[in-house]
Symmetry: C2
Subunit: 806 residues, 2 copies
């Protein structure tokens, strides 16, 4: 285990004393203690819960060893000088490290250092003030199992012994503490009246909104975390599957055109809206409740800490009005309407019929959004409206432009693992409104038309960027963002690809907001229960600053860009910039390394396979990827790609950004696609693709409240021969841009430039970089198994690699 904590706020003796008093470790009695050992014993007695007897607490303390000779009770009862080593012997055991297995008695300080756990700057032996400061820091230090000791203690029932005795909210070291009784949460449903009528029934769409909030919010308003999740009222998986497109189709020649961006961006006339409902009455009493919601565990964590949590699934979902649109402005309005209600700027009703208004009187008007993937996407969507009340977005693995999710440079390009999915499929999957049989039957025909429109407008035929995709490109409005933005993205995310986070990151760069980003080594995952990083603490610090207006230095403490190292496990570091395209190094693609024959400075590859091999690759993308990169001369794919391998690296090199591919190439047909991968070649141990559970440890998000599984990436047990760093694809007819189609003549050479996905990736000394050029991507592109030959002119082809400056 290697600990990385960024969210420990600076403190001094005064702060430590005040805050320890607020959480009842210090009081008038302790002011009288004049011996450091006695004070530490008092802390331990308090730690083991006032609700337990003195005998039990003594029993607990005497299970801990303070030195080779003495258990902690014996040691402290001597009232002899308290050594720093003894303190940290005890500390490590409280932090759940086991003597013998994890560390040896009297090796505690070295061990703290090795584990990267903070050590208080104190005298040895320790004085009274040292004990206070060291104890304060210890409570803010992560245990072996990925939470601060005070959070662990809360899970043991420290605050729950008597919730009523603690301030609410209770801020400790800049973070809000779990002092709210999660057994007493209020759960209610309202219907927000949104300014749209997407099912065209002459009435504004009502959006079912689920609220969970502490009872205390009845008296004192609280901040709100809102998760807009189109999934959380259920999904229609069978419908989605039925609609999934066949991808075993050939590429076709496209009619050249001169479409311009302004053609695509033409504003459409806004439809006239129906009148708002007449408010017939006003109440504070909700009429509907709900049972177990589909929750995000990070929201659960905040529910114990004085935040309300709101879920709303938006138009076309169960018990809401309207139809799904997969990312257009009406889905944005689904999110902003709820935020407006939470900020006091929009009407909601207690049910669908009686027009009885209910206000979010319990909201302090400060709203954050949270969630991953589509849930993160709707955060970007909402933020780009500049909606009032939205203060902070925790955007995880989100789409910034739907074209970058389902398309690439004029090609249909699936999210990794979801071949054949498209905007229409997702709309059908999330149209949970149909789970109500009456709603389904009433709206069947209208919905069918809506879905057909999406299918047509998404245009799988061309793959071009068009008006449909432009309406789903949030980057267009990025400058309107007013909320602070915290982006989290997996550098190995093949579902929502990293270009999405890079683009929005650069789009918000000029804005005067707080901007943070974490780039981890995961795929499309959450990272709020990892052993090596205090992500949850950082979010607490940041939200507490943004929504509770607590001055806790969050913006300084949290690095602007934090990256997880790919070459070692449990390693995180801050960087100054990401994907700035500054230090490009050009490598000519001069000589293939895979035996491809070069004639007249040209090299060719095919794109067709025997039917059997084709089918094998279709059904096993891993096999395809493996053969693509390291399949020998007998791999079926051997004639279908060209590999260029560069010199063995003499020192570690870090790639930061997008690799640019410059090819002069021809197709034997009047259509064609080109793909490229940048590869890290070299037998080595690498991080596994999936995080694993750590010792089956559970994180308690409160006291007997919800929990999470602690996870971490482990290094592979066996060496692997390579790892893909990045990939990219282009339709040769979209060589100018994604919206405009250029002509393509068979066997004519064209200059084709395209970028691979951005990454931050350390290539180790002794490894080699390689570039693979090919056409069909079995995992993501359409797959026609067409008889096409591609030729690269090696005298005019190169890659530019974004090496880190150093």
């Amino acid at each position: 285990m290697k600990n990385h904590q960024y969210a420990i706020a600076d403190y001094n003796l005064k702060v430590a004393k005040n805050e320890l008093r607020a959480i009842h470790f210090l009081d008038e009695e302790t002011d009288k203690i004049d011996n450091p050992s006695a004070l530490l014993k008092h802390f331990l007695m308090t730690y083991f819960l006032d609700s337990q007897s003195l005998a039990i607490r003594g029993q607990k303390i005497s299970q801990i060893m303070a030195s080779f000779e003495d258990d902690a009770l014996t040691y402290l009862d001597k009232n002899a000088p308290l050594s720093k080593i003894a303190f940290y012997n005890i500390a490590l055991q409280l932090l759940q490290f086991t003597v013998g297995e994890d560390f040896l008695i009297d090796n505690s300080i070295t061990k703290m250092q090795t584990l990267n756990l903070p050590i208080a700057d104190v005298h040895d032996p320790m004085n009274l003030y040292d004990v206070i400061c060291a104890w304060y820091l210890l409570l803010n230090t992560h245990t072996k199992y990925g939470v601060t000791l005070i959070d662990y203690l809360a899970g043991e029932g420290y605050f729950a012994q008597n919730y009523s005795q603690f301030d609410k909210p209770l801020i400790f070291n800049g973070k809000s503490m779990p002092v709210y009784d999660t057994n007493n949460l209020i759960r209610e449903v309202v219907y927000v009246e949104a300014p749209m009528d997407t099912d065209n029934d002459g009435k504004l769409d009502l959006l079912k909104t689920e609220i969970i909030r502490p009872k205390e919010s009845n008296k004192k308003a609280v901040p709100v975390i809102f998760t807009a999740s189109p999934y959380n009222q259920g999904t229609n998986d069978a419908d989605g599957e039925k609609l999934t497109h066949n991808v075993n189709l050939g590429l076709k020649h496209k009619q050249p055109n001169t479409v311009s961006l302004s053609d695509i961006s033409k504003k459409e006339k806004e439809p006239e809206l129906p009148a708002a409902r007449n408010v017939e009455g006003k109440t504070r009493k909700a009429e509907q409740t709900f049972s177990r919601e589909q929750s995000y565990t990070l929201n659960d964590y905040f529910l114990a800490r004085g935040y309300a949590v709101v879920y709303s699934a938006g138009i076309g979902t169960y018990e809401s009005d309207g139809f799904r649109t997969t990312g257009d402005k009406y889905e944005t309005i689904s999110a902003t309407a709820v935020i407006e209600w939470l900020a006091g700027n929009r009407v909601a009703f207690t049910n669908r019929t009686d027009n009885n208004q209910i206000e979010a009187y319990w909201s302090n008007g400060n709203v954050a959004m949270s969630g991953r993937s589509y849930l993160g996407t709707l955060q970007i969507a909402a933020a780009t409206t500049g909606v009032a009340g939205l203060k902070a977005c925790l955007v995880e693995a989100a789409i910034s432009s739907w074209y970058d999710y389902y398309r690439e440079n004029g090609l249909v390009m699936a999210p990794g693992g979801f071949q054949g999915e498209d905007a229409d499929v997702l709309a059908a999957e999330t149209y949970s409104r149909k789970k109500s049989a009456a709603e389904d039957i009433k709206n069947e025909k209208k919905w069918e038309i809506q879905l057909t429109n999406i299918t047509n407008e998404q245009d799988r035929e061309s793959g071009d960027y068009n008006a449909f995709w432009n309406k789903r490109n949030y980057l267009n409005d990025a400058k309107k963002i007013k909320a602070d933005m915290f982006f989290i993205h997996g550098l190995n995310d093949e579902n929502v690809k990293p270009i999405n986070v890079s683009n929005i990151w650069h789009a918000v760069d000029p804005l005067n907001i707080s901007k943070k980003m974490i780039l981890h080594q995961g795929q499309h995952i959450y990272i709020n229960a990892f052993q090596s990083l205090d992500f949850t603490d950082m979010v607490n610090l940041w939200f507490t600053n943004k929504l509770m207006d607590v001055e806790n230095d969050a913006d300084n403490l949290i690095p602007n860009i934090l990256v997880q190292d790919n070459a070692t496990d449990q390693n995180w570091y801050a960087i100054d910039e990401f994907d700035e395209d500054e230090n490009l190094k050009r490598f000519e693609l001069a000589k293939p390394s895979d035996g491809s024959k070069v004639a007249d400075d040209k090299v060719s590859f095919s794109d067709s396979l025997d039917e059997k091999d084709f089918e094998a690759y279709c059904s096993d993308a891993n096999k395809w990827e493996n053969d693509l990169v390291i399949g020998g001369s007998d791999a079926p794919i051997n004639d279908n790609r060209v590999i260029f391998t560069f010199d063995k690296l003499l020192k570690d090199v870090t790639i930061n950004g997008k690799t640019h591919i410059h090819l002069t190439a021809s197709s034997s047909k009047d259509f064609g696609m080109l793909s490229a991968q940048l590869i890290d070649l070299g037998e080595d141990f690498r991080l596994n693709a999936q995080p694993e559970s750590v010792d089956h440890a559970k994180i308690q998000l409160g006291y007997l409240w919800r929990e999470d599984n602690l996870r971490e990436f482990k290094m592979s047990r066996k060496k692997t021969p390579f790892k893909k760093i990045a990939e990219g694809h282009i339709n040769m007819q979209n060589r100018n841009n994604a919206y405009q189609v250029s002509d393509l003549q068979a066997d004519e050479f064209y200059e084709i430039n395209f970028d691979l996905q951005p990454n931050v990736y350390k290539v180790k000394a002794g490894h080699q970089l390689a570039v693979v050029i090919y056409a069909t991507d079995f995992d993501k592109s359409i797959r026609g198994n067409q008889d096409v030959k591609y030729t690269i002119n090696l005298s005019d082809s190169a890659v530019e690699l974004p090496f880190n400056k150093d």
Copy 2:
């Protein structure tokens, strides 16, 4: 989905009326309703929670379709005759089946039948009494997601609206309902003083015992479910790993002996016990509490239903005294001491020092045990003492004799997947007492001696049944069992093999107790959240009968032996007997089918491999198993086994019990082992080995209480060529029995008889049965890669197959 419910108790109109009154669906107001539609509407209004407004409830009802034309609200408000089809249209939607996807309106009755959901015997149109009976039955019918509708409704908050308004306990259709507020559970720790001193410190061992019980138990005693889990105070995985034995060792010649069973069973002198502690005081107030326990979700289910749940890990675990022994009588006493305390027959203290006694005043004295694997094993252990208070055991995948867990017929034989594990490894793993540093250091040397003794006594050298194993054979005392016994075992359990359940089943056969058994198609798993079987309801019915003394006909309703079919999914059926060895059919092993050469009526096979192939099989047991059965002539293993394939079956045949192997065989050395597998050969779809989650559905075990993931076995997507039905192994020197060693001369022929694991297995027409004879089992036996040749005399070798009578 195919539903199997055994736990629906018989009822009539009177019962239905009374019980619906008790759960507030009927009351004085409803007595006045004279229209069937109006009554059903009332039921639906009540179903959608009194805590929600009338408008919301109307909204909910109007989402349901009652007929092609009308939603349920419109339909029922007409007060027209209520058709049976309309009732079941509504019913299926309440049961969470979706119109369109799962069924079509007006096809409801056929659909109910197809899904094997019970239909009330009512008139059409329905009268008032019909509505009452049908609604009552519906509440007891399983939803799409594996729980009764009343349990689903409880999860929606039906009882939680006002817990105080319901009787406690509340029995509905013979089962106890979740009317206990799980937010108000009492959690306390006591230390039971057990009659033993396993760490030899001159004091009786104290056993930490964790109690969770409803607050109501303070006033009215409740029954107790006790889970004795050596794992639930933590485990020392690293220690276990370190101790794991090398299995790449050769078999050796054993010195013949004439050991008898009575030599092995000699009673040892009981050590004198230290005096019990003096009771210094008495209290009802516990001093220690605990936070999130390691729970079994079935126990969680019962916590909402008026049962207390008790966990105790036993000697040598964290915060208890003593040392682990892996299954001897002291671990049995660890369990019985707690039961005795729960039944008022033993002393417990509030802490380890003050001798302050605390009674289980909240226990009604009726104790059941639950848990799987080691947790089930300790149930058999406790039951075989006949301890007073223990009324019922829910024994899942348990060991009935530890020899059948770690040994077989004179061979070291690992639990599948745990090569090198043994009694000492398990003892080290579960010795969580050492997680307390002070306890670890204090007891280090004594514990080392104890562990060394286990290592010596378990005797991996011989593999024979000896005094060590005899002390760990609960079958010896099976006749003392007084508790009712419910066994659950996976027919594919290679960890705790099915011989364990078969032996205990037959051992309790003559006893005058209630005996039930479920044999499922899983490996070493729990089955309390399966879609196709109402297992949890059955346990509720059974426990409510045994521990709450409710007359609910549990023993008649629950089949004595219930088996899950292996040939189809979601299929369960009752059988009359298991493994009775009655209808044996003999097949001569006359002609190998795998090309093995026969000379002079003899066939030989080797047991050695190239080093590379040996290592490959060592690291991939699946590859070995596959090659063993269907590896062609180029499989490395081709000379290392002989296969006998029988005629293609003309009709389905069911194996029920143990296959007997009769070989006349020689070894080329003065030692040898023989193994055999019975195989179902034939390309076909078969159940996957692991159950899968169903629609990601969660089962709510109460209201906002804990939850479980709904699972079910699915058929494989691809056909598989074979499935192992059973296997067995024997040391040729143990051909008489497991405790006595016979001589073995190289190249001499001996008659060797041994049994394969019992099974209930349907072999489909068109398939073939096959028997494979070999020596080393790469997954379970020691693996010496020794140059041994085995020869079978085919003129005197056969198998006897236990075909079902039919």
